[in-house]
Amino acid sequence: MAASAKPRRAAVIGGNRIPFARANSTYAKASNQDMLTASLEGLVARFGLAGEPVGEVTAGAVLKHSRDFNLTRESVLGSSLAPTTPAYDVQQACGTGLEATVLVANKIALGQVESGIAGGTDTASDAPIAVNEGLRETLLALNRAKTPGQRLKAVARLRPGQVVPEIPRNVEPRTGLSMGEHMAQTAAHWGVTREAQDELAVQSHRNLAAAYDRGFFDDLLTPYLGLTRDQNLRADSSVDKLAKLKPVFGRGDGATMTAANSTPLTDGASVVLLGSDEWAAERGLPVLAHLVDAQTAAVDYVTGHEGLLMAPAYALPHLLERQGMKLQDFDLVEIHEAFAATVLCTLAAWESESFCRDRLGLDAPIGALDRTRLNVNGSSLAAGHPFAATGGRIVASLAKSLEERGSGARGLISICAAGGQGVMAILEAA
C-alpha cells in the first residue's frame, strides 16, 4: 500500500478465550503466561496458524510479575505460532485488551502488518507480591555497597517489619480510594438505585447464560483446566436473590453497590485475530467485522471534578462527530460492566442535558439507548473481569454478534479503566 493511500480497515476474523474463573479458584495456580498461551493455542488451532508467523502479537496484563516483562513474546514462544512472530506488551489497566486491538488494527490499516493478534490476560490469584519497600531499599543499598563498612551499614537498616510483603491493592494510587468507593460516589451523584443495578446484573447473567445455551461461544472459547463456562455465571440469578445482599461499597443507608452488582476478581485471558481483508482471503478465513474507529479519553478524577470511571462518556461525542452518527444508530452497544453502576451512570450522563452541554459541550443531549441493544450476550458482571482480558472478550463477541445481524450492522464498545481513562471503538459487520 502506498503511503499516501487512504488507510484500509482492519478485519476482525475471530477470537478465542478461556472461560473466566473466580479468583483463588480453578485457575489459582495458573500464571498469566499459562493462560495467555492457552488462549493463543486455541486461536492457532481454530484458524490453522500452527507454524505460521503473524505480523505481531500485542497483549498485556494489569497485574504483572517483574519476571513477565516480555509476557506476550514469551507466550508466543511457548505457543505453536512461528517463533519469528514479533510481540510486545501494552498496559492501560482495564482498557488493555481493547487498546491492544486498536494498536494492531491501526498497523494493519497503515499496511505495516498484514495480520496480528491482540489480547490480554490477568490473574488476581497468582498476583505478584513484592518485598516490602524498606527491605527493597536496604537490599539495593547492600548491592551498591563496596566496602565491608558500607555493607554493615546497609545491613544495619534491616528491621523486623520489613518482612511484611507488598501486596497489590485495587486502589487508585493518587486517591487511596478503591475503584468501588470511587464508583459509589459517582453512583450517588447520579442517583442510580440499588434496584436498577440489580436488574442490570440479573440481565447480564441471563444474557450470558442464553448465549452459552444457544452455542454462541462454541467458536469463541477453549475449555481450560476443566472449566467450559465462566465460573461466575449464575443462570438462576434473580432480583429477589440479589436484593438480600449487603452493600460492600459506599456508606450508610445510601450504599447500593453489592458483590453481585460489582464484578468479582477473576482470572482469565482472551485474544482476537485481526488482519487485512487480503490476508484473510488468502487464507480462506471469513471476516466477521471491521474496526471502523476508536477513541480514548481521560478525566480529572483526582480533584473530584469527575467520576473515576466516567471517561468513556467523554470519548463518545468525538466518535459520533467523526462518524456522523448518533448513539441510537448503533445496532449493538457493549458497555463493560465494571460495576452495574458504571453502565447506568454513563447512560444517565448521555441522557442529561446539563452534562452533555456543560461537560461535553454539546447542543443537545446524546439521548437514551434502547436497552435491548445493550450487552446482549452478557458482560462482565456475569462473565467476570480479568482486567486485561475483557477487551478481547468483547471485541470477539461483538464482531460475531454483528456478523449474525448482517452486513453493515454497527456496534460500539466502551471500556472504563483505572486512572480515570476510557477506551471506545466502533465495529461494523463485514
Binding site: 495456580k29 495458573a30 500464571s31 503466561q33 499459562d34 498461551t37 492457552a38 493455542e41 514462544l77 511457548g78 505457543s79 505453536s80 517463533p83 475449555p223 481450560y224 483446566l225 476443566g226
Partner: protein, 286 residues
Amino acid sequence: MELREVASTPALGPLFARAALTQRGRGGALPAHGLLLAAVQVDRAHLLDYQHLCRFAGGDVLPHTYPHVLGFPLQVALMAGRDFPLPLPGLVHLENRITVHRRLTADDRLDVTVHAADLRPHAKGQLVDLVTEVDVDGERVWEGRSTYLRRGRGDANAVAPQSSPPMPQGPPAGVLRLPEGLGRAYAAVSGDVNPIHLHALSAKAMGFPRAIAHGMWTAARTLATLGPEASEPSTSEVWFRKPVLLPSTVELVVDDSGSRTVVGLRSGREGVREHLVLTLDVEAGA
C-alpha cells in the same frame, strides 16, 4: 500377558524400602504379568505442578513425558516385586524412548499398563526394558520404553545397544540452572523418592558426591525447550550419560539441521561433561 489391576497409584516410598530389603537372592526370568492402572483421571493440579516444574505451558495438554510419571509407580511396583530378577537399588536409567500417537489432554481417561521385557546381556551387566503403554477407549495413544542397566558381570559379546547420535557441537543455545532442591521438588511431583535425588547426604550414602537430578526431569525440561510440537504425535529418544549433580548449571545444545532435532545437555569447561542426548522426531503432517 496376564495383567494385574492395581486399584490406585502405589506409594513409592514403601516400595523402594521393600525393594532394598529384598534385593538379595534375585534371579531368573522376568515376571510374566504386567500391571494395569485403569481409567486414570488426570489430576489437573498435579499436571500444572508438573508443567511448571519442567517449564511446559500450563494447561490441559499432557506434555510428551507426562504419562511416564503416571506409569512410573507401576514400574517400581513391578520391579520391587519378589519375582523381579534384578534388584531395584542401583538400577541405572540408561535410555528412554517415548512415542506420542495422538495429542492427549486432561479430559482423556487413560488405561496405563506396565510390563517388563527383553532381559538381555550388556557389556557392563544386564539390561531390561520397562514398557509403559497408555490406551484410551482401547486405542493405543502413548507408549514408553525405559531401559535400565544392572551393573555386574558383563558379557563382552553382548549386542551393543543402538548408540545415540553425536552430541551437538557449538555454542550453547541456552543455559539451565538447576537448584539444589530440584530433586526434592521433582520427587514431590513424580513420587520418585529415590534417596540419590533428595539430598547431598542421602546421595552420599548411595555413593554419589551430591544429589543428582532425576533423569526424566532433565529429559522433560529439554523437551519443553522444543515447544508444543512435542505434545503432538512424535517420538523422542534419550540417552542418559553422566548424571547432573545438584545444584549445577548445564548448557543446552541443539542441532535441528536434520530430519529430527537433536538436543544435548552438557557442562564443565568446554562442555566436556555430557549429560544426555535427546532426539525428537515429529510425525509428518502432525
